[in-house]
Symmetry: D2
Subunit: 119 residues, 4 copies
């Protein structure tokens, strides 16, 4: 598994697994500051989906660093929203965006702001 | 759970769960075209970590749409790499990036190109 | 001027000025491949401005690499569209986006794909 | 010229020209808050250019919202740095980045944060 996953040795892989577990654990505490991404796929022709998503994002603009929008084809958009804030607020925002009518697929990925992890 | 997750009714939530399951299922087939994001947190002062990550990305530049880099603080970087390609190739690239020495935390998030999902 | 602009010596500054002039010159030829950015500031509450901008971008999605959206405040958006294509097509797309009703300010910045410039 | 630039009528074009002139005028005042983009093209294989650029950016991370990196080909990178801050500080940062050894081409594009422009 060490080789398959591209690690040079076992202790590097164990270090990564430990940090991953730590990040997971910390995001359970609603008042910890976390960073993360919210990934959405939607068809921008669907009734007002983009307007609703943009309104939601501006309502939480202090928690959003920026949003990367990729035009996948004539209809489909991939949007990656980079967030930073308290875990509970970030999760609530993600739930609202993912539940928006017209969003085909959405995922929240949580990570750390790096401060509490030794590399 | 419907209300807690921000859905207006149960059938919207079931639609999302089904599409999520479908995306998960399809990414198991290595030759399906998928989209996704690779999220990395690292300290850019650590020896050559950024040079290694950039080299890896340029070696696979056909699979990478673009990379969003956020300067979290004086030391820590959050990098979100938006990828598109065959599932197997995307996973291999993610494994290599996440296993790079100096990366504190990394996650691959897979989604769809939207074509095979009805909104 | 060399010091004021942050250059270590005069020949470095002259090198930059020459390359800048070259990029400018080449973007005059409509069939040269160029890269660039289109920067837009708009109020997303203004009637349909975002829908019109997104439609225009999807119509030209082959020329657009990705779009970075920054939520400046509750109302104002900064959008940076990274483009790559023939100079004439990129200029036409920029003109259309900048002229869209509701866009407060827009600018096209042209650069090179790097292939034709020695560093 | 109105039609050529994609405007529906002359007053829309005059509105845009006036706002453009206003943005230009305001960026002359070093203590005005502005937004903007710094566009850089460089070969990431050139000695330490990326490390120098990243160090400079982290030194000014309060003025940088995020950076979009596009892998143009095996060698060339296009980097778009979205900035917000006092005009004088933004211009100084841009000068330093553009003058960095190994940068093939660089441009600063200034715009408004939208607050002082009526759409």
């Amino acid at each position: 598994m060490v080789g398959e996953k591209g690690y040079a040795n076992r202790s590097l892989m164990i270090g990564d697994m430990t940090r991953d577990w730590l990040v997971e654990h910390r995001t359970q505490h609603g008042d910890r500051e976390i960073a993360g991404t919210i990934t959405l796929v939607y068809d921008h022709h669907r009734s007002h989906v983009q307007a609703v998503l943009t309104d939601l994002q501006h309502d939480h603009h202090h928690a959003i660093i920026s949003t990367l929008h990729v035009h996948l084809d004539h209809d489909n958009c991939l949007e990656v929203i980079v967030v930073r804030g308290k875990a509970a607020a970030v999760k609530k925002l993600a739930d609202e965006l993912i539940a928006t009518k017209g969003v085909k697929h959405g995922k929240l990925t949580l990570t750390s702001t790096g401060k509490d992890l030794i590399g």
